[in-house]
């Protein structure tokens, strides 16, 4: 199985500049573990004390994972995950 992960500009130093990378995992937590193996250091930028960082938003197929089970959010083959920093609107 494979999940496509979109990486924001600010974290592309960990992915050799790649905008989109592939990773595996049946939950978001597993996916982040796999991402960190492939791109060492990336996991620490997404997580803080085992939780998603406050200013990091993660979406599964455009829906915020915080409403889908957080790190336990189930993932299946072909899902698209998007990571974005939290910014102000209004």
């Amino acid at each position: 199985m494979s999940v496509s992960v979109s990486i924001p500009t600010i974290l592309r130093t960990y992915t050799d500049g790649a905008k989109r990378v592939e990773a595996e995992g049946t939950t978001l937590a597993a996916l982040i573990t796999d991402l960190d193996t492939r791109h060492p250091g990336l996991g620490d930028r997404l997580l803080d004390a085992g939780e998603l960082r406050r200013f990091v938003n993660v979406y599964k197929n455009d829906e915020d994972v915080r409403f889908l089970g957080g790190l336990s959010t189930p993932l299946t083959d072909g899902d698209a995950v998007t990571v974005l920093p939290a910014v102000a609107g209004g």
Binding site: I10, D64, A88, G90
Partner: protein
């Protein structure tokens, strides 16, 4: 409808059905036309609420200067309220916002301080907070953290929606300061515990997310995740496509952020229809399309329009 003054006419907006875009007579979409407010956006409610709260707290007296970070609509609403109530206004606005917004603000006599495009509203907030610290005599209502923002919707938009649509099952709005969703969401939940509150968040292109590091991110102080049922991220392509569909199918000429909310609303409608459930889905038309004509969002193909609004704060 007769009002004693323009300020008294804020709110009381129509809720119109969208018979063409609704999937069936059991799953219906409803648009709350907030562009019918005095300066043409939902933010008139917020602007009036913020100023009246500051007056009540004794923080504002005639002749005082109001300072506010805004991507446009809140500034325009504040400019109108300030003009009528005798305050000066300084808006801190990202430089990548449409020319129309600047012209309207200047016409109302507001002063504009531009903040850098990279970083979007985050930068405007940062610059405004700096200015507020340097000028303690200026009054910053601060829409991102002022409960009066959400309360304007709790006391206005929410009750209007429930009165017009007692069968409401879903409420959808764009997520910016989060004030609309927090205020309407809390009100509706108190009266209809099963109502779904859905946020549609504009997903901009990379320039807007140009932070130096993740710790510079921003979550409005008003945001309370527990009020929401869920939250969708909607990109420029879908927002533009839906904005055009709304005009083509229902005749509503709306701003681009409305396309963002409509995209989420249509997704919910499709799911309800496929599941054989009935639904009354209301969403906010935050403003009309007039202020965005110069962006080129309404001309040519969708791809061309998407290219033209790249790097702009379109919601």
């Amino acid at each position: 409808m007769r009002y004693d003054s323009l300020l008294d006419s804020v709110g009381h907006t129509p809720l119109v059905g969208l018979p063409t875009l609704s999937p069936s007579s059991e799953v219906r979409l409803w648009a709350k036309l907030e562009d019918r407010n005095p300066t043409g956006s939902v933010k008139d409610r917020v602007a009036l609420g913020l100023v009246e709260a500051a007056e009540k707290e004794g923080r504002l007296k005639p002749g005082d200067t109001i300072l506010e970070p805004t991507s446009g609509n809140t500034g325009i609403g504040l400019a109108m309220v300030a003009k009528l109530k005798g305050y000066k206004l300084i808006c801190v606005m990202p430089e990548n916002t449409s020319e129309e917004r600047r012209q309207i603000l200047r016409m109302y006599g507001a002063e504009i301080i531009s903040s850098p495009a990279a970083g979007g509203s985050n930068e405007a907030v940062r610059v405004a907070k700096g200015l507020a610290a340097e000028h303690p005599d200026w009054v910053m209502p601060y829409q991102y953290g002022n409960p009066a923002n959400a309360l304007a919707h709790y006391h206005g938009t929410g009750p209007e929606l429930l009165a017009d649509l007692p069968t409401i099952t879903h409420f959808v709005a764009g997520l910016g300061t989060t004030g609309t969703l927090m205020g309407v969401g809390r009100y509706l939940r108190e009266h209809k515990p099963d109502v779904r509150i859905v946020a549609a968040e504009p997903r901009y292109d990379e320039l807007i997310y140009g932070l130096r590091n993740l710790d510079e991110g921003f979550v409005p102080e008003l945001y309370d995740e527990s009020v929401l049922t869920t939250r969708y991220s909607v990109g420029a392509h879908d927002a533009l496509r839906r904005t055009r569909e709304l005009l083509a199918a229902e005749g509503v000429f709306a701003g681009i952020s409305t396309g963002c909310a409509l995209h989420a609303a249509l997704g919910i409608a499709r799911k309800a229809f496929e599941a054989g459930q009935s639904a009354d889905i209301a969403f906010i038309v935050a403003d009309g399309g007039w202020k965005y004509l110069s962006t080129g969002a309404y001309e040519g193909t969708l791809d061309e329009a998407e290219d033209r609004i790249e790097g702009q704060l379109w919601a």
